[in-house]
C-alpha cells in the first residue's frame, strides 16, 4: 500500500501561483466574486503564504505554498462528528462532500487553515461551466472542502492500470499542482518506497515540516532555501 506524499522545494519555488490556478481548474473550485472575496471567502485549496520580515532596505520575504498537508495525525479528522473527513489507508485525508454536515469543526481544528467552506451555492455563468472538469464533483452549498491530492486522478490511474491488467506505476498519479509547476519545485510520490524522489528529498537536511512541533506529522515536506546538499 502506497503512502502518498509531497515535497516542495522552496529554493526552486518562485511564488508564481500556477499551482493555485491549476488546482482551481482541476477541481472545479469556484471563484466567489468581489463581494464574497471582500468578506474573506475566497476558496483556494492551495494558498501561498507570504511572510515579510524587517524594514526597508533590510527586508526578507518568504513564500510557502500550502496545500492540505495530509497529516498522518490529522487534527481535523479527530473532531469530525460524522466521518465526513478521514485519513484513508494511503494517507490521503479525504473529505466526503455528501456526508459533511457543515459544522466546520474540522476547519476550527486545522492549525493550517487548509479547509474551506462553501458559504453559498456559488453560481458560475452557464458558458463557463463548460470549462468544468467532469471528473470532479462540484461541491454544493454548506459543505467543507479541501485539497484531496487530486485523488480522482488516483482513481482513474488505477482504473487505467487495472484495465491494462498491470500494477499502477507511482508516476502515473500526480496532482494538478505538481504537474504544472513551472520551476519543477513540487515533487509527488510514494513515501513508503524508500527510493522514491519524495523519500530521498525528505531525508535532505534542508527538509522541514510546517508547524512541526504540533505533532500533526504532515506528509507535505518543505525544503528550505539554501545550498544544495551533497545528498542530491
Amino acid at each position: 500500500m502506497a503512502l502518498w506524499g509531497m515535497v516542495i522545494d522552496l529554493d526552486k519555488c518562485t511564488a508564481c501561483q500556477a499551482c493555485l490556478i491549476a488546482c482551481k481548474s482541476e477541481n472545479n473550485v469556484p471563484f466567489v466574486g468581489k463581494q464574497q472575496a471582500d468578506r474573506g471567502r475566497i476558496i483556494s485549496w492551495l494558498e501561498i503564504i507570504s511572510e515579510t520580515e524587517g524594514e526597508y532596505p533590510e527586508v526578507r520575504t518568504r513564500f510557502i505554498p500550502r496545500p492540505c498537508l495530509h497529516c498522518d495525525n490529522p487534527p481535523c479528522v479527530k473532531v469530525c462528528p460524522v466521518y465526513a473527513t478521514y485519513r484513508n489507508p494511503e494517507g490521503i485525508v479525504a473529505q466526503i462532500w455528501e456526508r459533511c454536515i457543515g459544522c466546520r469543526f474540522c476547519m476550527a481544528a486545522c492549525p493550517y487553515a487548509a479547509k474551506y467552506f462553501n458559504w453559498h451555492q456559488y453560481r458560475i455563468p452557464e458558458s463557463m461551466e463548460k470549462g468544468f472538469n467532469p471528473d470532479v464533483y462540484v461541491r454544493r452549498w454548506g459543505v467543507v472542502e479541501k485539497c484531496t491530492f487530486c485523488s480522482h486522478r488516483l482513481l482513474r490511474a488505477r482504473d487505467r492500470a487495472a484495465a491494462e491488467k498491470r500494477e499502477m506505476r507511482a508516476d502515473e498519479y500526480v496532482p494538478a499542482c505538481v504537474e504544472v509547476c513551472p520551476s519543477k519545485a513540487m515533487y509527488f510520490g510514494d513515501l513508503n518506497d524508500p527510493d522514491s524522489v519524495v523519500s530521498v528529498l525528505g531525508r535532505s537536511p534542508r527538509a522541514f515540516h510546517l508547524l512541526e512541533d504540533l505533532g500533526t506529522e504532515p506528509k507535505v515536506t518543505y525544503l528550505m532555501e539554501g545550498e544544495r546538499h551533497a545528498l542530491l
Binding site: 478521514y86 466526503i96 480522482h152 482504473d159
Partner: protein, 178 residues
Amino acid sequence: MKVGLISSMIEGKRHWLLLAGIILFVLIVVFFFTTVMGRGVKQPIQFNHKTHKEQGVECSTCHQYVREQTFAGSPKIEVCWECHEEPITESREETKIQQYAKENREIPWVPLYRMPKHVFFTHRRHVAVAGIQCETCHGKVGEMVKPPAKQLKTLSMSACMDCHRDTGADNDCLACHN
C-alpha cells in the same frame, strides 16, 4: 380547536374525522409515489432487447465501450445502421432508425442508469476485469421487449459496498468517491 378534534376521536364520536384523516394521508402518499418517485423515461425508439438478444447480439455489440471505457456508451446510429440499413422487419420502430439516419443525427437515447456525480464508476474494470455480468447491476434488461422505463435494480451505495465487501474489493470511500 385541535384539542377538540382529537378529543372527539378519543371519545369515539365522529369517527369519520379520524377516517378522513387516514384517507387524506394515504392519498398524499400515493400522490408522492406516483409523481415524484415513479417518473419513468421514454426512449425515442421502443427498442426490443429480447429479440436482439435472441438474434445473438451481445450487450457489448451496441454498448460498445463497456469493456474499453469507464462508460458503456449508447448505440451510435451507425451501429444500428450496420444491420438495419435495409429494413429487416416491418416494425414501425425500425423505420425511425432510417429517419434519424436521413437527418443524420444520433438517436437521442435517454440515460436511465446514472451515477451521482460524486461517484466514479468504471465499466471496464467491473466488466472486463472483474467479469461481472450486466444483469448483476442492470437487471434482466435482456429479457424485456420494451426499453425499461425505470431502473430494474436501484443502484444504492449499500448495494455497491456489500458487493465490494463480499468480493473483497476495496471499500474505502476514495475507492469510488471523487
